[in-house]
């Protein structure tokens, strides 16, 4: 089973099981992980599922698309490892992925 770890802004960490093919955002919502709002329901239209991908995982998750970069303009405290979690699909290669949620989404 693929696992994803979410660390919140205070440093608290939670590891949950993720279904292959679902998004990191969906994984968070399904497991009631706090810190991800996903107001638009995954349409890449709100920037309230912003996460920071752990540095050792940024290569595996890849870069944000142009549309995602545009949406990240509406997120706060954007860093080079910022992604919208609705745009990261869980694959076997991402087993063990670690992301941090920001202090504020919307």
């Amino acid at each position: 089973m693929t696992k994803v770890t979410f660390i919140d802004a205070s440093g608290q960490s939670r590891t949950v099981e993720a279904q292959l093919g679902s998004t990191v955002m969906e994984t968070a919502l399904r497991n009631s992980v706090p810190g991800i709002e996903a107001e638009c329901g995954g349409a890449c239209a709100c920037a309230t599922c912003h996460v920071y991908v752990a540095p050792e995982w940024t290569e595996a998750t890849g870069k944000a698309s142009q549309m995602e970069e545009d949406m990240l303009d509406f997120a706060f405290e954007v860093r080079p490892n910022s992604r919208l979690s609705c745009q990261i699909k869980v694959r076997e290669a991402l087993d063990g992925l670690v992301v941090t949620t920001p202090g504020k989404q919307g």
């Binding site: 349409a43 239209a45 509406f74 706060f76 202090g103």
Partner: protein, 344 residues
Amino acid sequence: MNELSTDVVIVGAGPIGLFAVFELGLLDIRSHLIDILPKPGGQCAELYPEKPIYDIPGFPVISGQELVDNLMKQIHPFGPKFHLGEMVERMEVLGTPDEPLFRVATDNDKTIEAKALFIAAGGGSFQAKKPPLAGLDAYENRSVFYSIRKMEHFRDRRVVIVGGGDSALDWVLNLHPVASRVTLIHRRDAFRAAPHSVNAMRALVAAGAMDFVLGQVTTLKGENGQLSALTVRKEDGEIYDLACDDMMPFFGLTMKLGPIAGWGLNLHENLIPVDTAKFESSVPGIFAIGDINTYPGKLKLILSGFHEATLAAQRAHHYVYPNKKLTFQYTTSSTSLQRKLGVS
């Protein structure tokens, strides 16, 4: 003060609020819609106009905007009155539980009296996202603005605009002739805005008429609600203070329940509990339909909202026409319904 009256006021002009007009109209109930957005359609139009929706019965696929356009066409025969770009601020109960009467007031100096209220406010009203900067609240409406009502406020002031979308760029260009200096701060050297606005901004920067800073604001400085400077972390890591009088952050919109929270309705986690026969709240005459309501088994689906609007309209008939018996009719066979729709 503009004083109006109607049968039902619908708060929220998203797909469910729009369809409520149709179901009310079939029962000869007139309605007014109020929405904080400048256009009808709610989330469908604001968040995902081009995204396909696959679970609207009878439409294998339809985009958010197409659905809104179709609904507008469908309710056209009933001539609903729209109050767009306005937020309902206050609600007064004027009537009794048996004979409800309400008065709502918008932030545009308008009041509307109605025998029933349909709250179809979805996830709440769209409001500007506030950046997580310490002490922000204290500066709001004096030195920090999310929209502009009076351009004159900015005359001869040093204005910082934060963001890279159309709102940010539009205000850079509009305020540039008024302010003493305009600075645009954005996290990257790419903009999600009309190319001609971006070009106009770049030309001003090239001519030395305004500044563009690649970076993010980290701290607000000032006192008594008046900013004196912003601490900016530039993309290259440099941190410095930028003197300014006003800041306008443009980080898009988010949904907040807003003033409805203070209307005395029972709420459950910012949702309005309703019964599933009438979709009425704890206050007789106030209905909640669509994403804003909750009940056992609730699904936040547009198709569920359509059903909710239909049953709520049946109950609203009781309040609007207390002495009239309601007979159930089909649009396919009833000539009286077809006359209302203008097809017979």
